[in-house]
């Protein structure tokens, strides 16, 4: 039973980690680029 709890906990952490890494990516707040060409086309 103890082993099952730990194993399924590891599974949950792994799923959440990958979900956060590839699906819920943190959106960084970009600074204002100004008027010219800063490369943010």
């Amino acid at each position: 039973m103890f082993q099952e709890i730990i194993a399924f906990l590891a599974l949950g952490i792994a799923v959440i980690y990958l979900f956060k890494k590839f699906i819920l990516k943190k959106k960084k707040k970009d600074k204002d680029c100004g008027g010219g060409d800063c490369g943010c086309h």
């Binding site: 082993q3 194993a7 590839f22 990516k25 204002d32 008027g35 010219g36 800063c38």
Partner: protein, 699 residues
């Protein structure tokens, strides 16, 4: 005891040894990150100075002047203009090369005019004697209103003196070298009158540069003083001329070069290494030696790591209490992690060679000779840097395209860079080559495996150039950007710099891919160990009944049960569903699962197979390589990893865009899903078709 923290900014032109100075000051006390909101690398290190002062050393991107033309250079200006930035320097160290002092001093005078206490660090001082250079340091200090540190970062000379000088930063003059008003008296006087509290040179930068200024209202300054683009350019040129006039006057007295002493070793070597025929031959010989060595030298440590993980897995299964967690550890986690750590030797050797080439100054010559080829295919020389740095990873390589001014050239470079063989492909290539290419030597020195690896690298680079050529024809690029490459002096690579680079890159490879592989290994193990329906539940009964009809040993029965369970597990069902699509390429469903999971990161391929084979494998084979080697097709009885399927897999990975992060960065850099999706569809289709043709011909 009072501790004081100060900020020290390291600024300088590219190739003046700035990173060497950074490494000398900080050792391994470094943190690498990104500037907020942008993806320019930010390196901060920590250094203990005399009198209990601690310094945060910020290694800023290399820049030729404060007239920014790329996002990297903007970072430098933004920091130097924003006193509210927590990293705003208490003192700036402008690193220069003793042989290029005149050009390097342009940036120095600009930094000085921002009234930041500035120390002039003259690097590579150990070469002064052989080059016949002598400096009048007191005179230079007086004229440039600064303190000078004469150092050799390569030979660790003058570093302690530099540290002692940094702690005296409060006594260093912040007086500017030039009065900005000499550029255009009337214009600058009016500007100063309108903003009497602001520094004149800072105002000028606000008007001319496209950077963020947190404490200045750009529109307020720009509005009344806006000039046409041409007029502003004219004034910038005027500024550069005035600065060089000043620098020439100072160096006329402060610097003397006895040309009869100088040895012309560099130009002799350059003539050979950048020769239009021998230059390429030498480059290919060097590449050849590198790839031969990668295979030869890393085989022993790789076998050691592989067998260690195999032993660990067996030990975990034997010694831990029986149960699901033990199975997860021994069949999922350990083989999965082993599947990535096994490649540390090859990754480390690859970066060792790349670092040596960079440190020695040879890489700039490679960029120079490759530029000639690139132009024939319609790309600018600036595309060479991303394509070459793509051998490490496509992500920073795509970011490196930001200094390409022409948008279409930049877009093409972004789209073709993922063809370059990145380090994540190396594990896949290495294991497949080891399985399907014989470890033979031809003519006594030509290792076939090393040669195959080199051909794959050339194939990736060739495909990138060919795709660029096609895209160039289709997209019709208008206008050209010009490419200037710095040719640094040849140097013996500094062990410390090479070591730091290898350690950092290898660490990034392991930590970047390691977490993903660990997570995927856990999930895969569950998917391979559980299944829906009666078949999975009753696997033992079904196989035992079958076994009664054929006299099978206990081991054989157990192996059959494991294989049957795996086939009817969740992952088995998923794999069987996609099998019809991939079987024409010579792959079975297990390879199909590995290909899908390796879309997160290519390195996951080997870890995935290691996990799948551990769950459903035989007891006889323990190492990853042996497991893969002994895998046979259940119907044909032929080896799964044979020459035809191996070549097909190599070609698939050479061309396919198996990297979620590359898609994400392409989306970010192009600000559209159109380009990354087009890239994904084209690369995947091309990879599929090539792999299909290869297998069908070779089978």
């Amino acid at each position: 005891m009072i501790h004081q923290n100060i900020n020290v900014a390291l600024i300088g032109n590219p190739n003046v040894g700035k990173t060497s100075v950074f490494n000398q000051l900080t050792g391994l006390n470094q943190q690498v990150g990104n500037y907020p909101g942008i993806t320019v690398e930010k390196k901060i290190g920590f250094c203990k100075l005399p009198h209990n002062i601690k310094a945060n050393i910020l290694d800023l991107p290399g820049t030729y002047s404060l007239n920014a033309s790329s996002i990297d250079e903007n970072v430098v200006i933004e920091l130097l203009l924003n006193k509210n930035d927590k990293l705003y320097p208490d003192v700036a160290l402008v690193v220069t090369d003793v042989e290029n002092l005149k050009r390097n001093l342009l940036l120095f005078t600009q930094i000085k005019d921002l009234e930041i206490p500035t120390i002039l660090v003259i690097n590579m001082a150990d070469r002064m004697e052989s080059k016949g250079i002598s400096l009048d340091i007191p005179y230079l200090e007086e004229q440039l209103k600064t303190k000078i540190a004469l150092i050799s970062s390569r030979k660790s000379q003058g570093i302690e003196e530099l540290k002692n000088l940094i702690v005296t930063y409060k006594s260093i003059s912040a007086e500017p070298c030039l009065n900005a008003s000499i550029i255009d008296k009337e214009y600058f006087n009016n500007l100063q009158k309108a903003f009497p509290d602001q520094l004149l040179y800072k105002l000028w930068l606000v008007i001319t540069q496209d950077v963020n200024f947190l404490n200045l209202e750009r529109k307020e300054i720009q509005g009344p003083f806006t000039k046409s683009h041409t007029e502003l350019k004219r004034l910038q040129q005027q500024e550069t001329i005035k600065r060089y006039q000043f620098i020439n006057d100072v160096l006329k007295v402060g610097l003397a070069v006895d040309s009869s002493v100088a040895k012309d070793f560099r130009s002799k070597l350059d003539r050979v290494l950048t020769h239009k025929f021998w230059g390429y031959i030498i480059f290919f010989v060097i590449l050849f030696v590198i790839f031969q060595s990668i295979f030869d030298w890393s085989s022993v440590p790789m076998d050691f790591i592989d067998s260690t993980f195999a032993t660990l897995s067996t030990m975990a299964a034997e010694h831990l209490p029986e149960g699901i967690l033990t199975d997860l550890i021994s069949q999922g986690i350990i083989p999965g992690i082993g599947g990535i750590l096994i490649f540390i030797p090859q990754i480390a050797f690859l970066f060792l060679f790349i670092s040596i080439l960079e440190e020695s100054g040879y890489m700039s010559r490679v960029v120079f000779i490759m530029d000639k080829i690139m132009r024939r295919f319609g790309l600018s020389g600036k595309s060479v840097v991303p394509l070459i740095s793509g051998t490490a990873c496509a992500i920073p390589a795509i970011m490196a395209t930001r200094n390409i001014e022409n948008w279409k050239e930049r877009l093409i470079t972004i789209l073709v860079t993922p063809f370059t063989t990145c380090s994540a492909r190396l594990p896949v290539y290495a294991i497949i080559i080891a399985l399907v290419i014989p470890n033979h030597r031809v003519l006594g020195f030509l290792n076939l495996q090393g040669l195959t690896l080199m051909l794959l690298y050339l194939l990736g680079f060739g495909m990138a150039i060919f795709s660029a050529y096609v895209l160039n024809k289709v997209m019709k690029i208008s206008g050209k950007t010009f490419f200037v490459v710095e040719m640094p002096n040849y140097k013996l690579p500094l062990f410390k710099n090479v070591a730091i680079n290898v350690i950092e890159k290898t660490k990034a490879f392991i930590s970047g891919a390691g977490k993903i592989i660990l997570a995927i290994s856990i999930i895969l193990w569950f998917l391979a160990s559980y299944g829906p329906g009666e078949k999975f539940k009753n696997a033992e009964t079904i196989i035992s009944t079958q076994a009664n009809n054929h006299s099978l040993s206990k081991t054989e029965i157990n192996n059959r049960i494991a294989a049957f369970k795996l086939e009817n597990s969740y992952i088995g069902i998923m794999g069987k569903t996609i099998e019809p699509v991939i079987s024409p390429l010579g792959y079975d469903w297990k390879i199909g699962i590995a290909i899908i999971s390796s879309f997160a990161a290519r390195e996951v391929f080997v870890g995935t197979l290691a996990t799948i084979y551990s769950v459903g494998g035989t007891d006889n084979e323990t190492t990853i390589k042996n497991k893969m080697e002994s895998e046979i097709h259940p119907i044909t009885g032929a080896k799964i990893f044979n020459f035809a399927s191996g070549i097909s897999l190599l070609l698939f990975y050479a061309f396919a865009l198996q990297c979620a992060s590359t898609l994400a960065i392409t989306k970010k850099e192009t600000n559209s899903w159109k380009w990354p999706l087009g890239q994904l569809i084209f690369m995947s289709s091309f990879a599929y078709i090539t792999a299909l043709i290869a297998f069908q011909i070779l089978k």
